[in-house]
């Protein structure tokens, strides 16, 4: 064994992530790279493109807000922020459902659960605000009947998103990243959506509309609804945490 390998092993007790940070001071070069990358041309500095894109984003945002409507401007900004965050955090709804099975990691699953909890509180606040002031409660159009069709559809979507390498948001984000393969995904995503939209009437009539429509505040009251929802999310979070550690104990 070479000196290098011995060194790695002696450093081993510290966990992997802290090892990387400790690397530069430990004498061994952290800048290893394969033969391939040695032949590669150096990375281009993209700062100037980034600033250009930022300027265009702001200009379009201002135009949308001024010329079309403020809501369009908000959509533009939230959409871009959403994509940026998905990209920078490697957040992936597909991975959140797939990785617990494939790698035993639930970090993204828990991230999604936290996002659900925050959204639940936000939506409850908006809806309750409208309810107390006597306005029509927003979002009631999205309270759709729940039935076996929901579970069947979710299962099929799950298979599709794992094969395609991303759900809708993940696919769009990776196209923005310049990932060619997902262009293929989006084409078939759109085709599939067209087909579904074409037959939606029949499915709604025969299957979907038979299910009950449940808006939790009608069942538990406003406070109860948010409590029950957060309780379920909390239990799922604990289950995810347990799953991760259980897997780890098993393998090590």
């Amino acid at each position: 064994m070479s000196e290098e390998a011995v060194k790695v092993i002696t450093e081993e007790p510290s966990d992997a992530s802290s090892r990387i940070e400790a690397e530069p001071s430990s004498g061994r070069s952290s800048r290893r790279s394969s033969r391939r990358s040695a032949e590669r041309k150096p990375k281009k500095d993209q700062t100037i493109y980034g600033l250009g894109v930022l300027a265009i984003v702001i200009a379009v945002g201002v135009y949308l807000a001024a010329a079309i409507s403020a809501v369009m401007g908000i959509f533009w900004v939230t959409g871009i922020a959403f994509g940026f965050i998905l990209r920078r955090t490697n957040f992936c709804f597909t991975a959140s459902m797939r990785d617990p099975i494939m790698t035993g990691s639930t970090s993204l699953t828990r991230a999604v659960l936290i996002a659900f909890a925050i959204t639940s509180i936000g939506f409850a606040a908006i809806q309750y605000g409208a309810f107390t002031t006597g306005l029509p409660v927003p979002g009631m159009g999205f309270v759709v009947p729940i039935s076996f069709a929901t579970a069947a559809g979710a299962f099929m979507f799950g298979i599709g998103m794992v094969l395609a390498g991303g759900c809708a948001s993940g696919t769009l984000m990776r196209i923005g990243e310049g990932y060619g393969m997902q262009l293929l995904s989006i084409v078939f995503f759109v085709l599939g959506s067209f087909w579904a939209a074409r037959d939606m009437g029949w499915w709604t009539l025969n299957f979907i509309s038979n299910g009950p429509r449940i808006h939790l505040p009608d069942v538990f009251g406003w406070g109860g609804a948010i409590f029950v929802q957060l309780l379920i999310i909390g239990l799922l979070y604990m289950a995810a945490d347990k799953w991760e550690n259980r897997k780890q104990d098993q393998e090590s």
Binding site: D15, A16, R32, N90, L108, G165, G166, E177, Y179, M181
Partner: protein
């Protein structure tokens, strides 16, 4: 102390991980596997999986959106 390369450019998320798992089974202890990926999701789950196996992992961005993951099969 052999070094192996696994080219996963253009492969969507679960594929690099599955290939890495299979390839690492073939490797002897002490070997290094270099996985080359460009799917941002694999950037997360391949190192995470490998660290869970208690392998040494390093990630290097070698081009815009292209990464090399170095995995030392330590055990």
């Amino acid at each position: 102390m052999a070094e192996y390369e696994l080219d996963c450019l253009g492969e969507a998320c679960p594929v690099p991980l599955v290939k890495t798992e299979n390839k690492l089974k073939e490797l002897a202890v002490g070997d290094t596997l270099i996985v080359i990926i460009d799917h941002s999701c694999a950037l997360k789950n391949v190192p995470e999986w490998a660290r869970k196996q208690n392998y040494d992992v390093e990630v290097e961005e070698i081009g815009d959106g292209e990464y090399e993951i170095f995995i030392d099969k330590t055990a």
